[in-house]
Amino acid sequence: MILVLARKDDADAAAVSSLWKAQGALALAPEDLSRPGWRYEPGRPEAAIAVAGGRRIPARLLRGVVTRIAGIHPQDLPRLAAADRSYAAAEMTAFLAAWLSELSCPVINRPSPTCLMGPSWSFEDWSRCAVRAGCRVEPVHVTVRRAGCQGPGQLHPNDPSPTRSAMVAVACGKTFGDVDGSLTAQAQRLAGLAGVEYLNVAFRGPEAGSSFLWADPRPDLFNPQIATALLDRFQTSNEESLEAAV
C-alpha cells in the first residue's frame, strides 16, 4: 500500500492516488488524524496502525508514503472545537513527524520534527544551502521596519517577480527539467545537502550560470514522469525488501 499525505482539496494528490489505485494507494488527509484506530509505539514502527480512507492500515503493509503537506494547520480540523484546533494541529504534526520518521518503507520526503515534507527551511535557508551546492545565489536581504514592515523572504515559489524561471525536479536519483547540465548537477547537490529524495529547484533561466531562485520539497505529482519515478522507487524498495526477507 502507498499513502499520499495531502489536503483533501489537493487535486494532484487525489489524481495520483486514483492512478495508483492498483498499487493500493490511499489518500491520507489531516482529517484522518481525527479518526479512531491510529496506534503507534515509538521504537516499534512495524506495529503501528494508520487510518486512511476509512481503513485501518498496518504499517508493515506500507510500501511508501508521499507527503505533500508541511504540517497540519488548525484550519485543517473544522470538525474539532475551535479552541482545540491549534493544540490538536501541533500534536498531530509532532505525531506524524515521529511516525513517518520511523517507517521502514520509503517516505518522500522523510520529515523533520517540524516539517512533514523534509527540512523546515525558509527561502533564506535554501539560499544558504544553494551557495554550498555551488549555485549562483543573488544576495538576500531581510529587512524588518517599524511601520508597514516588509518581512523576510521576499522571494518564494509564489512570488511573480522573476520574469522567467526554469525548473529542475530531483526525484529519487532521477532529474527532470530542460536546463543546462550544470544546473541539474547543482540541484542534485542541493537535494543531497538537504537530505531529501525529492526537490524542486528553480533557476532564473535554463542556461549555465543562471541564479538560484527557490527550492521546494513538495513532490510534483502533476508531472506523470515524476509520479512514475516515485512509484518505481516504492516498487524497487518493496522488491529489495522481499529479496532481503527470502
Partner: protein, 309 residues
Amino acid sequence: MILLWGLPKDGPVAAVAAELANTSLPVVLLDQRATLDTELQVRFVGDGIAGAIDMAGTTIDLDSVTSCLMRPYDSLGLAAIERAGPASVEWRHAQSLERGLWLWAEYAPGLVVNRPSAMLRCSSKPCQSTMIRDAGFEYPETLITTDPEAAQEFLCRHGSVVYKSISSIRSIVARVTVAHQERLSDIQWCPTQFQEYIQGLDHRVHVVGDEIFSCTIESEAVDYRYASREGAAVEIRSVNLPDDCIERCRTLTACMGLTVAGIDLRRTPDGAWYCFEVNPSPAFTFFECDPEDAIATAMARLLTGGGGN
C-alpha cells in the same frame, strides 16, 4: 558583544544579565517588550551574514556579537501585539522580527544558545525518544493512539499510566484516573500520548557547554513543575551523578546539536535511568540550589568565552 534576547524579568535572562554585569565585554539586552520599536536588517552575501538591529534608536551591530542567549517568549503574546490582533501591522511586524532574528541566530558566526535548528529537534517528544534511547537512557513504554480500545489495553498492561503532549507545547503531565477512563472515547479526535508511569526519584540535569549541574526533585506531585496546584511541596537538592550518566547526558546534548540543555531524568529504585525529554531553553533558575555552583554563573562563563557552535 554578548546579546541577550528575551524579557528582562524572565528568571534565566535576569540571572545571566546579573552575572554578566561585571564582565568587560559589552552586554546588550534585546528587550522583547520593545518589539514594536525594533528594526532589523540581515544581509546574506555568499557564505557570509551581516546585519544590525535598531532598538528604539539604539543600534546593535550584529557583526560584533560574539555570543548570544536566545530566550524569547512568543512575541504574539505581548499585550500590545495581542491587542492589535492577527490582521494588524503590529502582528506582522512581531512575526517578521521574530523570524528574522531566529534566521540570523541560525547562521551567526559566534556562539548561539541555542541554534534554532537544534531547538526544533526537540519539537516532537516521540522524535526525541529515538535520540534518548540512542544515548543509552531508558525510555518509558509509550503509546500514541486515537483508539480507545488500544488505550484501555495499554492502561490494563501498565496499571499506572500518565498522559502528556506529543509536541513541544507545554502540558501538565497527569496520571490517567478512573474519571479519564470514562471519557477515553474522546481520544479519537486527536492522537494522545500515554506513557507507563515510572516510579523513582526525579533528577534534572543542566548541561552548560562542558559543565554539568544536577539536582534531585522530591515532590508528591506527578508533575513537580505544577506541584503548588496540587498543594504539594517541592524539594530540590544538589546531587552528584554517576560518571556514565553524565556521559550519556553529554552525548544526548551533543547529538541534538545543543550547547545548553535541561534534561529530565528519573532514577528507579533498581538503579535504571529513564530520560523523559530534553528542554532546549531550560528555565534553570527554578532548579538553582547551590549558590556556590550557580548555573547562571556557568551560563555567563559560557557566553563570555564565545567561540562558535
